[in-house]
């Protein structure tokens, strides 16, 4: 089967080549070999990259992802870890939902009263002691 060179993988995965080299260096992906100097990848790397994106989206660090996706193709995923992350996501979702509702409210509630408005105060309570480890926007 045809092997892909890095530019092609980049194009198909929607990632810059620099990222692919970086991922290789970190052991997240591997080239099947070289054609001269050029890395050759087989198509499976695309799925692996999708898994990596997935992990990132779920909030795992590259190191955690590297641990989960062993050196083989099959993800060696710790089910308990997955479930735990699902629970964490659940928490995040709840907080974000409260936040979203309150933001929408704040967007229509008259300004002067924000600090007196019960919804706004609730919002503040939700936000209090917010301690981010990592942040996300789209």
């Amino acid at each position: 089967m045809a092997t892909l060179d890095i530019g092609e993988v980049a194009r198909r995965a929607g990632l810059p080549t620099s990222t692919l080299r970086f991922y290789e260096e970190r052991g997240l992906i591997a080239a099947t070999g070289r054609n001269g100097l050029r890395r050759q990848f087989d198509a499976g790397v695309l799925q692996r990259l999708a898994l990596i994106s997935l992990g990132r989206a779920a909030g795992f660090s590259l190191d955690e992802i590297a641990a989960m996706l062993g050196s083989d193709g099959q993800p060696t995923i710790d089910r308990a870890q997955l479930a735990a992350r699902a629970d964490e996501l659940d928490h995040s979702i709840r907080r974000l939902t409260a936040l979203r509702d309150s933001l929408r409210h704040a967007a229509v509630c008259p300004a002067a009263s924000h600090l007196e408005c019960p919804s706004f105060q609730k919002l503040l309570r939700v936000a209090e002691r917010y301690r981010p480890r990592r942040k996300s926007r789209s």
Copy 2:
């Protein structure tokens, strides 16, 4: 009224003093004066810090927050911006929800079949081309 020194504010807000100095430097909060060398804050700063946490939780950067909370206490919040952020949050929430559901599924779905499993494939599709700007975990 009693003014608070930085350690007290830190204790009440649950933030390290270094963060408070940093926030002051960035214009997010202001001391009312000094007692000798020591910064004195009045209690209002706690609400302001809550607003800052709120902004962070909603995904705003410190610069954006500084712009929204003018130098006065009253937040000068752009309603359109709030609504826009609420919409963005909505997107995030949807993605995270799909992710959570799929993670939960993956946690119970037999390993060998992950890559063939329709839910898992859907999960991959959701995650594809994920491009994080900032990340969040609780």
